[in-house]
């Protein structure tokens, strides 16, 4: 059985205790909301897109350590990046979070580095928590689609 340390790496607890990019953005930033129907957690992602870049991102809402730290790390990973690269990061992260190897990744996603986000790899061993880790990411994707529609 995987132990607690596999799930709660130090870096995760750090992001949980001091979340980055907390807050809101005023319009015209895009605001999207995500629910985890299992536990009732809610998250809001605010997204500013500017000349092909994710120029700013903020996170609000509540959740467990996994969903909060995942959101915090995500915000740090995508802020200031070109949209195409952000989508690559999302794909890489989501494929890390799937149990079976789904072929969703595209060729050049390999070049993308997940950095700190690798710490969330342990979540896969706790399938119930995968939805916690991916909540912010699915919400971000929705926002990206809206912002670039």
């Amino acid at each position: 059985m995987p132990g607690l340390e596999d799930l709660y790496r130090e870096i995760i607890l750090d992001h949980y205790r001091s979340p980055r990019n907390r807050g809101e953005l005023p319009p015209p930033a895009v605001r999207t909301e995500g629910h985890n129907p299992l536990c009732g957690d809610e998250i809001q992602v605010y997204l500013s897109v500017d000349s092909g870049l994710v120029s700013d991102v903020k996170i609000s809402g509540q959740g467990c350590s996994i969903s909060q730290s995942s959101a915090s790390m995500m915000s740090a990973a995508v802020k200031g990046k070109p949209i195409a690269e952000v989508r690559s990061i999302v794909r890489r992260f989501k494929s890390m979070m799937t149990l079976e190897e789904e072929e969703t990744a595209e060729a050049d996603d390999q070049n993308v580095k997940l950095g700190d986000l690798e710490a969330l790899q342990g979540v896969v061993k706790f399938p119930v928590r995968i939805k916690c880790a991916t909540l912010a990411w699915n919400t971000l994707l929705q926002g990206l689609d809206e912002a670039t529609a």
Binding site: M1, H35, P37, L38, F126, P127, V128, R129
Partner: protein
Amino acid sequence: MSKDFANLRQDFPVLSRVINGKPLVYLDSANTSQKPHVVIDAMTDFLENGYAPINRSAYQMAAEATDLYEGARTAVAKFINAPNANEVIFTKNATEALNLIVRTWGIANLSHGDVVVLTHMEHHANIVPWHMLVAERGIVLRFIPLTSDGQLDLSNLDALLTDAKVLSFTSMSNVLGTINPSKFLCAAAHRAGAIAIVDGCQSVPHMATDVQDMGADFLAFSSHKMCGPSGLGVLWGRQQLLDAMPPFMGGGNMIADVRLDGFTCAELPAKYEAGTPPITEAIGLGAAVAYLTKIGMHNIRAHEIDLATYSMNQLTQRFGDDIVIHGPTNIEVRGATHSFAFKDLHPHDVSQVLDQSNVCVRAGHHCAKPLMRLLGANATVRASFYLYNNHQDADALCDALEQASEFFSPS
């Protein structure tokens, strides 16, 4: 009969039951099938060692239970070649699956004057829900008639399908054994602009099913007829349709959010699985599907063609004009299900005498009263075979029929 099939009788504990010194001759599988050890054990093992809620709690036993439950869904999806496991919805039986379609897709898409085409050989489960919509909404039902040998009479199909929104038909008659040309019918429905709903209750247990090749939009079937537990049915539907439909029952699990003033639905498949589902039962069906797959659906069909041929021959050879077997004579288009009239005896009386020999058949209208009226009978005797039956079972049926004949002949 191949040796494999002779051996697999041992997989079914109930078949060794002896009543009154006579072995069990179970010929009522079109009604409900017996269960192999592996299915019973999967359920017992789960209940004794790992029973837990699914999709709700986060502890290990709950995660294991969720894996087993979702694993069963994936297995069922593979069994019918569904493109996506989320398109497989667990219901309580096939009847709920068919009602679900009518109350969601039907309510959203059908209004006064809209045409739904059924066949004259449907089970009540594929008639009565539509009748309700006739009463509520004024939809119009048309019925594909039958040929004299119990096949669908397709000579007027295009006219019947004109302006139809739905074609809903059984892939195999539970009375006549007739195997309908599902792929052809789905294509005809689509050409006419209708969706195709397939009641797969009688075919899914007995032959390979491929929803993509068949081209169906919805498929309904029952766990209990395919070696799985009671209390469980399956609805498969194309994701695009399922996503667009309104919900069926409201409650836990099917929601994304609930407020005092409204709610939003969860994604598939949760959207159509309100409340605590048949957890143990789904796990049992997963085991049943693995069991059937291991034997091979093509082998099962071949075995049943052999059984149908042998039993049909025996019945006609031994009883001649005393027996009238309904349905097609061409075994290529029929399953191993024989409904028949025997002399002038009432089916209830026949089955009563058969029961003395521990030969289990169904006597009645088989939940297909419109078809029975067409056959000019209130009831028939129905002997239906499955993978665990053999030639001796057919012989036992004939022997018992002889006894019935003697018993009721004027002394």
